[in-house]
């Protein structure tokens, strides 16, 4: 029998009142992982003994004047560096790699009193939309273990939705936080580009990557963002702008807000059950006081192609460093270059290779102008689409993905089909804006649907307010997946 995990928002009060202890939370966490991870495969590794030691230390300290996240264990996607822990990016090429340093976001969690706990499954190097590209097998959907979690932060989403993490950090390059959050039924926030330091995030596509929280509630997302956001001298692309009080923005209503519906996100290609759930959510927002308007994002249809050119180009350079010379797996060869070839051929998975080859091609002499340069121009047009849309409204409402989670294996042989599933999420990364995924219903076969709230760059408080108001008015997020019920969750 397992108790349910508290949220980030409630835990400090429970600890202060003596209703629970950090040790008890950690024990619940460990027990849940022990029982569910063999099925869900959300964690690649975790150290329950270390967490227990840490919990005892925290419990021994005074509860007065504690930092914001004192006693909160936070799950970490395997792409983020935590000093002394593995950082394998779910790849065989980094199988035995142990990181020598903390990512800035991780360091900030620690400073706030949290424990970076465990290594969460993902698509290899964050390349994928189903978590099936992990070298250690896919994480599985807590609502139906025969279905994908989405990706690439599939382990983070499955852990939070499956009662195996109080909250988690993921990364979002083209939807990798929002889409698995939608597929698994938890909250996922992709901050604006430059809001959270990328230092210590093993880069996939540097101009698109952002770190963000996956949580049980919108309020939890606001709290975690508060901790990890802000300028970092170690990341030149992190913006030096004040961080607002996100929790204070959660007013619970939408009075006076204008919310836009991008026409291009409500097309025939979307699963009717997704459209139905999102339409219902829009009605709910109207009831909460929002004015709903239609807007256009005319360059949406070029977004997936643009994204896969820019992301793969950057990835081809970012992943060049994995050559076995300084760290990671190494195959010997006749000379260094031969050794590199053998190492990379043996230890990179097929999707990673596909993207490196694609990225190498689009940057090659003679093709650069036609692909990379043109993609950058389209990216500017997509950014302008959003700027124009946000002249007419405060935030946008849309589906996160055209479908709900699909059965494991369904799309593994059809990468293009897989890429097209990213249509509604890649745009936010291309434009550098922020996006939130909130549970908004279930399909007939009992799989969660996500509502996406998109906001202008550096207006996370706006989308958090919308998501929070909607969440308070509905109870989708209270649903408990079968995996939790089966082993005794209440």
């Amino acid at each position: 029998m397992h108790a349910q995990l508290p949220t980030v928002a409630t835990l400090p009060q429970l600890l202060a009142n003596g209703q629970t202890t950090t040790r008890s939370v950690v024990d619940t966490l460990s027990a849940a992982i022990e029982s569910r991870n063999p099925v869900l495969n959300a964690y690649l590794s975790w150290d329950g003994a270390e967490a227990a030691r840490w919990a005892q230390e925290v419990d021994a300290q005074s509860v007065a004047n504690r930092p914001l996240l004192a006693g909160v264990p936070i799950g970490i996607k395997d792409v983020l560096n935590v000093q002394g822990q593995p950082c394998g990016c779910a790849s065989l090429i980094l199988e035995k790699y142990v990181s020598p340093y903390d990512a800035t976001a991780v360091a900030r969690l620690r400073q706030a009193g949290a424990l970076p706990f465990g290594r969460l499954n993902m698509d290899e190097f964050a390349m994928g939309s189903s978590n099936e590209n992990s070298a250690y097998g896919p994480a599985r959907n807590p609502w139906n273990a025969g279905y994908v979690t989405g990706g690439s932060s599939g382990g983070s989403a499955a852990a939070v939705a499956g009662g195996m993490a109080v909250a988690a950090l993921g990364t979002d390059t083209g939807g990798s936080i929002r889409q698995p959050a939608a597929f698994c039924g938890c909250v996922g926030l992709k901050p604006s580009y430059g809001r959270v330091s990328r230092y210590g995030l093993t880069a996939f596509a540097s101009s698109l990557d952002q770190i963000g929280p996956l949580t049980q509630s919108v309020e939890d997302a606001a709290i975690l963002l508060q901790v990890i956001a802000g300028h970092d001298p170690l990341d030149s692309t992190s913006l030096d702008r004040p961080v607002p009080d996100y929790r204070a923005a959660l007013s619970g209503d939408l009075a006076g807000m204008r919310l836009g519906l991008p026409r291009e996100y409500f097309t025939d290609g979307v699963d009717p059950q997704v459209t139905w759930a999102v339409r219902a959510a829009i009605e709910e927002c109207r009831k909460l006081g929002a004015e709903i308007v239609d807007v256009d994002l005319p360059h949406t249809r070029y977004a997936v192609a643009t994204y896969y050119i820019i992301a793969t180009a950057e990835a081809s350079a970012n992943l060049a460093r994995f050559d076995g010379v300084r760290y990671g797996a190494r195959e010997s060869g006749q000379d260094p270059i031969d050794s590199y070839g053998r190492t990379r051929a043996r230890y990179f998975g097929p999707e990673v290779k596909r993207r490196i080859i694609l990225g190498t091609f689009v940057l090659s002499s003679g093709y650069y102008d036609a692909y990379y340069l043109r993609a950058q121009k389209v990216r500017t047009l997509i950014r302008r689409d959003f700027e124009a849309a946000f002249q007419q409204c405060d935030a946008l409402l849309a589906p996160v993905a055209p479908t709900t989670a699909y059965p494991l294996g369904e799309r593994v042989d059809d990468p293009l089909q897989m890429y097209l599933g990213d249509i509604f999420t890649v745009t936010a990364n291309l434009a550098g804006i922020c996006g939130l995924s909130v549970p908004c219903g279930f399909s007939d076969n009992g799989l969660p649907v996500g509502l996406q709230v998109l906001g202008p760059a550096f207006r996370e408080e706006t989308i958090l307010r919308v998501g929070h108001a909607y969440e308070q008015a509905t109870d989708w997020h209270h649903g408990l997946p079968p995996v939790c019920a089966e082993d005794g969750g209440q």
Partner: protein
């Protein structure tokens, strides 16, 4: 070549200069030379997963100052790009460099060959990171990443250089300006300055440039001169025999004194440049550029003029002294320690430069300091030592250092001016050499020099020569 040369030579140099910053270009590791392998490293300069570069502002400042010294246009907007290639010396397997928007464009370097002045135009100067150093051992290779991430400035010349001599003069002039500007230490042994050579020849009547070859990674100016002398001759011979120059990269074999073609596999690269997404563009305003302009140190020409007018040095002395900034600095420091300009200049130009040349040392390697030299000159001036003793003390200070007065005392080099002692040596010399005395008295002046030598020998070089002369004359003439 004698007579009119029927071929024109066009040489362009890409000169890589390590900047004299305290830390590396993207991280806080020290920018030093000679540490144990892989000790001045961190996750950033080792290219560890998740690490990110942060641009060292000092490196931008020094590059812009170099641009100002060379009369370049300083670009208000420039950016960094990734240059991709796989090689063990490159931790990320891409080098962060500047592709199409460098910090500086245009500019020139004045040179002089055989008394003829010429201006070599500069195409551009950009900033990038240096790579690691590969070391090859008997059965294995190792990579030392200490050098990885050293700020490196690349100065690309136009193909205005027309001979090996001009190339040599260009590098000398460039080095002098950059060392003067405090941009680099300019230490060739430590690889502070390295260059790639582009060289082509064409018949005098042809207007377009001939096919060029590239000689990579030259780290001595002498090597540049020798390799160019060889390569120009080789290209002309190929043309003379009706052959075609292949566009290729060649390697200089210093031992054999020849250039040889590298296998195409070794250099054929598509670098796949694209803008570096981890760094923001460099934006400079006029106020910033002007501030750096006023911070530029004195250049050799201005210093030469000052040496002549302020210190009354002959033009020749001034030329010799300013040619090497550390020497000129040593000289000025000696004056500051109290020496007279002419004496200091003589000693720096003769003793110091001679001994540095013999040892093949730079000034910083010699143990003598400007204060030591000033003290030696003071002892000389006060008549405490004679010239030979001064040279001996100088030599000791040069190799071992120490207090000149203490050395004088310890080695008994103090000059003897005591009249009693001098008289005894003079008397002894006169008594022992009656023939010389007779010769002198018969009008042979040279005999006096002989007697003088006898006295000096008897005193083991310590007698005060003018006083000896005085005493001898007094005895013989008296």
């Amino acid at each position: 070549m004698s007579g009119a040369n029927p071929y024109k030579v066009s040489i362009g140099l890409e000169t890589h200069v390590q900047l004299k910053t305290r830390s590396k270009i993207w991280c806080a590791c020290p920018n030093t030379f000679g540490s144990d392998p892989n000790t001045d490293v961190c996750p950033i300069c080792l290219g560890y997963p998740g690490s990110m570069p942060v641009l060292n502002a000092e490196a931008v400042k020094l590059t812009v100052m170099a641009g100002l010294l060379l009369g370049c246009r300083i670009n208000h907007y420039s950016k960094f790009d990734r240059k991709s290639y796989f090689y063990p010396d490159m931790p990320k397997n891409y080098q962060i460099s500047q592709y199409d928007q460098p910090l500086c464009t245009g500019g020139s370097v004045p040179i002089e060959v055989d008394g003829k002045p010429k201006v070599i135009r500069i195409h551009r100067i950009h900033l990038e990171e240096d790579v690691a150093k590969n070391n090859h051992f008997e059965t294995a290779s190792g990579v030392d990443f200490n050098r990885a991430g050293t700020p490196l400035m690349e100065i690309v010349s136009e193909p205005d250089i027309a001979s090996a001599d001009e190339a040599f003069a260009f590098l000398q002039a460039l080095k002098q300006m950059l060392v003067y500007g405090g941009i680099t230490d300019g230490n060739l042994e430590q690889g502070n300055i390295r260059c790639d050579i582009n060289c082509s020849v064409r018949p005098d009547t042809q207007t377009t440039l001939g096919t060029k070859t590239e000689i990579k990674n030259m780290n001595t100016f002498k090597g540049v001169h020798r390799s160019l002398t060889y390569e120009i001759k080789r290209q002309i011979e190929v043309c003379e025999q009706g052959g075609k120059i292949m566009q290729e990269t060649r390697r200089w074999d210093d031992a054999r004194g020849v250039t040889t073609a590298m296998r195409s596999k070794e250099y054929a690269h598509d670098y796949r440049y694209f803008p570096e997404p981890d760094l923001m563009p460099v934006v400079l305003d006029d106020a910033q550029i002007d501030e750096w302009r006023t911070a530029l140190p004195e250049m050799p020409q201005a210093r030469r003029t000052r040496f002549i007018t302020d210190f009354g040095l002959p033009a020749y002395d001034a030329d010799v002294l300013v040619a090497d900034k550390p020497i000129a600095d040593f000289f000025e420091a000696t004056l500051a320690a109290g020496a007279s300009p002419k004496a200091a200049s003589n000693w720096v130009m003769t003793e110091l430069l001679r001994m540095l040349g013999e040892q093949e040392w730079s000034v910083s390697e010699a143990r003598i300091t400007p204060t030591m030299l000033a003290d030696i000159l003071r002892l000389l001036d006060e008549g405490k030592i004679n010239n030979p003793a001064a040279k001996t003390i100088f030599s000791v200070c040069f190799t071992e250092g120490g207090d000149p007065r203490a050395i004088m005392e310890a080695r008994g080099l103090a000059q003897v001016s005591d009249e009693g002692a001098l008289d005894r040596w003079v008397q002894a010399a006169i008594t022992a050499n009656p023939k010389s005395v007779a010769d002198y008295q018969a009008g042979k002046k040279a005999a006096l020099q002989f007697l003088m030598g006898q006295v000096m020998r008897a005193s083991q070089g310590k007698a005060n020569p003018p006083k000896v002369m005085q005493a001898l004359k007094a005895q013989l003439d008296g």
